[in-house]
């Protein structure tokens, strides 16, 4: 998706998207004594339907508040920057607080999980519902939704003051044994809390929909883990929570292993090749046939019960978890064991 250049966007604004004609961005900035110094003053939008036209220097007027757009949000995956033109990083002029505005973008696409493709949908309504359901719950990003002048469901999100959990774990500078003994018990305790949050959603008939390592943050102040981004959904009547449960297993694997260990990564060192010679096909992830789920073969000091939880996600398993609750029932005793050890 490519955004039109600024000049075209301004023209589009003049052509009909400006609804608050009495007020300009410059006037709004003066009125609220905003600290922002803009290189260019854009347009005031009340209708966000044409979100591609809304960019830096524009203001979105919504529910009596004004949000100065600073930039489009982007996801960085596999070293690539993927802009999300329907997600705007803003400053709320009234309060000076940073906000993220998620505009309506109904999208259908295939989520690739291993060799499988799962049809996925982006649903503003679902995200708005979960924001309502989890209001005040520190385990979830906070925000609210409002219709714009055209009835689009705009979600106004508070920026999570934290660091992506995977990056935080990556940054712990020690060997795995030290990490596992000194850091992992605390991380697991917080992760159990995050799993409880997902079990709560499931109990309400809701799904997170996009459980990935980069959608779980560690709050700078509280240290608690916070889930973000709830707008994905998919059709899954036979196993409604399967994709969520799979996501939780992936994160657990990362946390327990302080990274993902694959056949390829092991093959790079003599020690790794020796371990690899003992890894059987049953030890790999049922979805990603190169990821090693049986961490016992890499780190023999990981307690058996925790390894057995991970092996529910392995090719060798005959029984899979159907809900976050089932996972929790097996995972919670692992923490007791680690703390008791």
């Amino acid at each position: 998706m490519k955004r039109p250049p600024a000049r075209e966007r301004r023209r589009a604004g003049r052509a009909g998207f400006v609804e608050d004609r009495m007020t300009t961005v410059r006037e709004l900035l003066e009125r609220y004594q905003a600290k922002a110094s803009l290189q260019s003053y854009g347009t005031v939008y009340q209708d966000t339907t044409e979100f591609m036209n809304i960019g830096y220097g524009d203001v979105i007027a919504l529910g009596g508040r004004h949000y100065l757009v600073l930039r489009d949000e982007a996801e960085r995956r596999f070293g690539m920057e993927d802009p999300k033109f329907w997600v705007k990083r803003c400053t709320e002029l009234e309060s000076g607080e940073k906000r993220i505005l998620k505009l309506v973008f109904h999208e259908r696409f295939n989520m690739k999980i291993g060799d499988m493709e799962v049809p996925c949908y982006r649903s503003p309504e679902k995200e708005a519902r979960i924001l309502d359901l989890t209001r005040g719950d520190p385990r979830f990003m906070q925000g609210f939704s409002l219709p714009d002048s055209a009835g689009n469901n705009v979600r106004v999100i508070e920026v999570v003051f934290g660091k992506r959990l995977d990056l935080a774990v990556d940054a712990i500078d020690c060997d795995h044994r030290t990490y596992f003994a000194e850091h992992f018990p605390g991380i697991l305790a917080n992760f159990l809390d995050a799993c409880e949050a997902i079990a709560f959603l499931h109990g309400q008939g809701e799904r997170h929909g996009d459980i990935r390592r980069d959608h779980l943050f560690r709050h700078y102040d509280t240290g608690r883990y916070v889930w973000i981004d709830f707008d994905y959904t998919f059709d899954g009547s036979a196993n409604p929570f399967g994709v969520d449960v799979f996501g939780l297993g992936n994160i657990l694997l990362f946390l327990a292993g302080k990274g993902i260990h694959t056949a390829q990564s092991l093959a790079e060192t003599p020690g790794g090749r020796e371990i690899l010679s003992r890894v059987t096909p049953e030890d790999y992830s049922v979805m990603y046939r190169y990821r090693i789920m049986n961490l016992e073969k890499l780190f023999p000091y990981i307690p058996g019960p925790l390894c057995r939880v991970l092996q529910h996600y392995a090719v060798g398993s005959e029984v899979y978890y159907e809900s976050a609750r089932e996972l929790l029932d097996d995972l919670r005793p692992c923490l007791d064991r680690l703390r008791g050890a």
Partner: protein, 150 residues
């Protein structure tokens, strides 16, 4: 629990037709059978069909398919020589987003000692992610028999 009181779950697929054939073979062989034919109606997800008209159209299509699945299975049973009088059909709305759970609720209600389902033949990865209704029914079986027909 009466093992001759059979719940046959159908969805119109070839696998559920095979299950119907199998149940027909068994039930046509003697007296005392009752076959409860059940189609679970899974409503479309409103989040996936935000347009109310499309949502309703999909809902209608699924309801129609469920009735057709029951008719087809009933015909298969009649073809095997099962008497019409020993069969009952029902569509059941899916409870709590859980097809297998819904089948089990009906089984309990009707008091079936046997549940027959077709098996889709999913790969491990598909079963993990998409779920297998037959596996879930079998996993939760207690005090009744499950026939999984592949």
């Amino acid at each position: 629990m009466n093992a001759k009181n059979i719940l046959l779950a159908v969805d119109g697929s070839q696998n559920s037709l095979r299950a119907a054939d199998y149940v027909g073979e068994v039930a046509s062989g003697g007296p005392g059978f009752h076959i409860e034919l059940v189609a679970v109606l899974v409503p479309p997800d409103r989040d996936i069909f935000p347009d109310p008209a499309l949502f309703q159209a999909e809902r209608d299509r699924r309801a129609h398919d469920a009735v057709q699945a029951l008719d087809t299975a009933r015909e298969a049973l009649l073809g095997k020589g099962v008497e019409a009088g020993v069969m009952a059909t029902r569509t059941m709305s899916c409870l709590d987003m859980d097809v297998a759970g819904t089948i089990l609720v009906v089984r309990e209600e009707v008091g079936c000692g046997t549940v027959a389902v077709g098996r889709r033949g999913l790969s491990k990865a598909e079963e993990f992610l998409l779920g297998s209704i037959s596996s879930r029914v079998a996993r939760h079986a207690k005090d009744f028999t499950v026939w999984v027909v592949g």
